[in-house]
């Protein structure tokens, strides 16, 4: 018998239907991954199962009983007890003014399990089970005293407190560093085996879905494109969309390493950079070289100092000591013509009040390059270069998709014909198919314009695809440097190995 059987589920926000008849099942003890890009309706579907957002039609059969349309009061008896939820963002999902222990005990209290002492014992048991050190002390702490990974463990503890038969995990690891991500997923796996809990895993990360699920549900635009056994789908996807998704996912495709041009002279030389923020040393003696026309990746987790290094290279932050040499020395304003930065978040890096044409023309105007007519021609050229239609000239950023915005940001960076472009997590916020197109664009631009890239990323699969050389950063230091092939094929440092272990099989 199936545990959860969703039949022809439709969900709407106001008049807009976003889930158009979705059906799938989850068997006991099974991990079913719902994958899709943003706006595919995967989270909405998960919320509808819990009754957090009302479904407009269809059936949600939990152990054979249709729970769709149940009152909130009736659903309360199910939530926590039969279905547990592990929410997406651990930093927002805990009450900041409530002790950890009390938050976990809340589930037990609502469902009237045991007296105060028994609940307390159970909380300690749960904290121990999810692998938090010193659980007695943790129970008395507040969320801000815990790291992201620890918070996610607390949320998992709360979700499994009543041993539900199903856990809905909505992007449980998306906000976490890769090494932490792996440990959290391992924990969910262990718990599943121990308690026989089924998991509905909602994720945009195909690597995670491929690695961790028994069955896959691929969603697009509120419809199921494909569903079935994970291994079967991975081996032979039948839907065209699934094929494209798999082709575009860097985590599922091991391409050839990009060969390094050994003869090229270095375009960027970084020597012994040090940067302190108060007592905290963010960058600790970082040195590397990037060859002209090549891509060098700085890889690391949050807090590794990679973004600070990028900001020092682009002169948005000053180093306490050390030097960055990019060609002949120039003044601060001319420096901007040589080095450009593309930001992670294309939603934040474009002025919301200016049309695309004005945004792309800004560097030209700032440096007084050409008259009005010449600038207009150049802007059209640049838009064509990044494959954006001319019709977008008058649009404002909010009318563009994420991928289009990032193309605009790239066009702006290229306007002054820089030698070096620093890309700070420039593709991290994009969906896989969009990300793949941007990566292709970056490669093409590099080939045609001879650009040198410094590519900052936490995503090793992307790095493997785009970069010639890699430096791995940890706690402000470079722990290992080499060609991409050396790093991936024969990592020397333990930390590099740990990072690589978190990458899905095909790419490793």
């Amino acid at each position: 018998m199936t545990l959860l059987d969703i039949r022809d589920l439709k969900v709407a926000y106001g008049r807009r239907t976003v889930v158009h008849g979705v059906s799938f099942t989850v068997g006991p003890g099974e991990v079913v991954a719902v994958v899709g890009e943003s706006g595919s309706g995967k989270t909405t579907t998960a919320n509808a199962v819990l009754g957090l957002h009302p479904a407009s039609s269809g059936q949600i059969l939990l152990n054979g009983a249709d729970i769709r349309g149940w009152s909130q009061k009736r659903l309360q008896a199910i939530r926590g007890a039969q279905i547990g939820l592990v929410p997406q963002d651990p930093s927002n999902s805990l009450n900041p003014v409530m002790r950890i222990g009390n938050q976990i005990a809340e589930t037990l209290r609502i469902h009237k399990r045991g007296d105060k002492a028994a609940r307390r014992r159970r909380v300690i048991e749960l904290l121990t089970r999810v692998g938090l050190d010193d659980p007695e002390r943790r129970a008395g702490q507040y969320p801000h005293e815990l790291s992201g990974g620890m918070r996610q463990r607390v949320l998992i503890a709360a979700a499994i407190a009543l041993r539900p038969s199903l856990i809905i995990a909505d992007e449980p690891t998306s906000a976490l560093d890769v090494t932490v991500q792996r440990r959290i997923l391992d924990l969910i796996d262990d718990l599943r085996q121990e308690y026989g809990t089924a998991v509905l895993l909602v994720t945009h990360d195909l690597g995670v879905a491929a690695d961790r699920s028994d069955r896959l549900v691929v969603m697009k635009d509120g419809l199921v494109e494909e569903r079935g056994d994970t291994r079967t789908i991975l081996a032979a996807p039948s839907a065209a969309y699934t094929r494209q998704l798999f082709r575009d996912a860097p985590a599922l495709n091991a391409r050839n390493f990009r060969p390094l041009d050994e003869r090229a002279e270095p375009a960027i030389v970084v020597r012994d950079l040090v940067k302190d923020f108060g007592a905290f040393r963010a960058v600790d003696g970082v040195s590397f070289e990037v060859r002209r026309g090549g891509t060098h990746a700085l890889v690391g987790e949050s807090g590794s100092g990679k973004t600070t290094t990028a900001r020092i290279v682009t002169r948005f932050t000053e180093a306490d000591s050390g030097e960055v040499v990019i060609g002949a020395p120039v003044g601060p304003r001319d420096f901007r013509r040589k080095v450009q930065l593309v930001y992670q978040n294309p939603y934040g890096s474009l002025d919301p009040r200016q049309p695309v044409g004005t945004i792309v023309a800004e560097p030209l105007r700032n440096f007084g390059l050409g008259d009005r007519a010449a600038r207009r021609t150049r802007v059209r050229e640049l838009l064509e270069r990044v494959a954006l239609p001319e019709a977008l000239l008058e649009r404002r950023p909010r009318e563009l998709s994420g991928g289009q915005r990032q193309r605009v940001a790239i066009a702006r960076a290229l306007a002054v014909e820089p030698e070096v472009v620093v890309l700070d997590e420039a593709v991290s916020a994009l969906d896989v198919t969009v990300q793949a197109r941007i990566l292709e664009l970056l490669e093409e631009l590099q080939r045609d314009l001879g650009l040198t890239y410094l590519f900052i990323s936490h995503d090793l699969a992307v790095v493997r695809q785009i970069s010639h050389t890699v430096s791995v950063m940890n706690k402000g230091r470079i722990v290992e440097s080499g060609t991409t092939q050396q790093i991936f094929d024969s990592p020397q440092d333990d930390y590099t190995r740990e990072l690589l272990a978190a990458v899905p099989e095909p790419v490793r």
Partner: protein, 258 residues
């Protein structure tokens, strides 16, 4: 709440028309009275009734709108221009300048608005323009604080750094990116302050610091009607209702802008 939006714009539009073309709305002279018709209640002939010297109250309200509105306009302009400028400088320069400007603003904020306005009037002397400037001076701090908060927020945005990265100079980035993106809430506050200024100017008029009698001004009208409150309610109530309607409309419009 669509009707509320229309009503708000209709009220403001009507009052502006009163100020611009008062003769279209009333045939009576706001200054010359007919003693025989004194203290008549509202009727078809005199919509708002007449006052103690037989002047048509509606005519006085209509003709008075120009004084009250232009006063409020000047007050908001003073507050908006000075406050935005100070806030922009403080927010973008930071450091000692920021501290210095904002602490002065804190002092201004700690004095009740009316008291501050009265102090300025005592310095400048009474009169319509002086009252407006005084009320405006009282709102400088509010504008400065809001503008500074917005500027500080916008300055941290990626697109501002990107603008510097595109070779923009400090002044140019401030003018092209920081200021336009900071102004939204400030404009909303200006609309709200417009209502508040009308109220403050009417209050000062009521206290006798504004326009000199017999010039019609809303606050003054209410003040003059005070002596007849027991017998002729319309002298205070109807001009008061007009002030309330305009202030509420300004508040509503401000909410919409935000």
């Amino acid at each position: 709440m669509r009707w509320a939006r229309w009503a708000a714009w209709a009220v403001v539009g009507l009052v502006v028309l009163w100020a611009v073309v008062p003769w279209l709305f009333t045939g009576y002279d706001p200054l010359a009275g007919v003693p025989a018709e004194k203290l008549q209640g509202p009727s078809g002939a005199h919509w708002f009734g007449t006052d103690a010297v037989g002047r048509d109250l509606f005519a006085r309200v209509v003709h008075g709108s120009v004084n009250s509105l232009s006063g409020a306009f000047v007050a908001v302009a003073v507050g908006l221009v000075l406050g935005t400028l100070l806030g922009l400088v403080a927010g973008s320069a930071g450091g000692v300048l920021d501290e210095a400007v904002m602490r002065v603003m804190d002092v201004l904020l700690s004095v009740p608005g009316l008291l501050l306005a009265l102090t300025v009037i005592i310095l400048l002397g009474p009169g319509t323009v002086n009252v407006a400037v005084a009320v405006g001076a009282g709102s400088v701090a509010a504008f400065a604080r809001l503008t500074r908060a917005e500027v500080v927020r916008v300055r941290r945005a990626d697109y501002v750094e990107a603008a510097f990265g595109s070779g923009g100079t400090f002044a140019r980035v401030l003018w092209r990116h920081v200021l336009p993106n900071s102004l939204g809430p400030v404009v909303a506050l200006a609309a709200l302050q417009f209502g508040v200024a009308i109220l403050a100017i009417s209050t000062l008029g009521f206290l006798g610091y504004g326009a000199e009698p017999p010039t019609p001004e809303w606050g003054l009208l209410i003040s003059e009607g005070r002596n007849y409150l027991a017998t002729s309610w319309w002298l205070t109530t109807l001009p008061g209702a007009v002030v309330v309607a305009v202030v509420l409309a300004a508040g509503r419009i401000s909410k919409e802008i935000r």
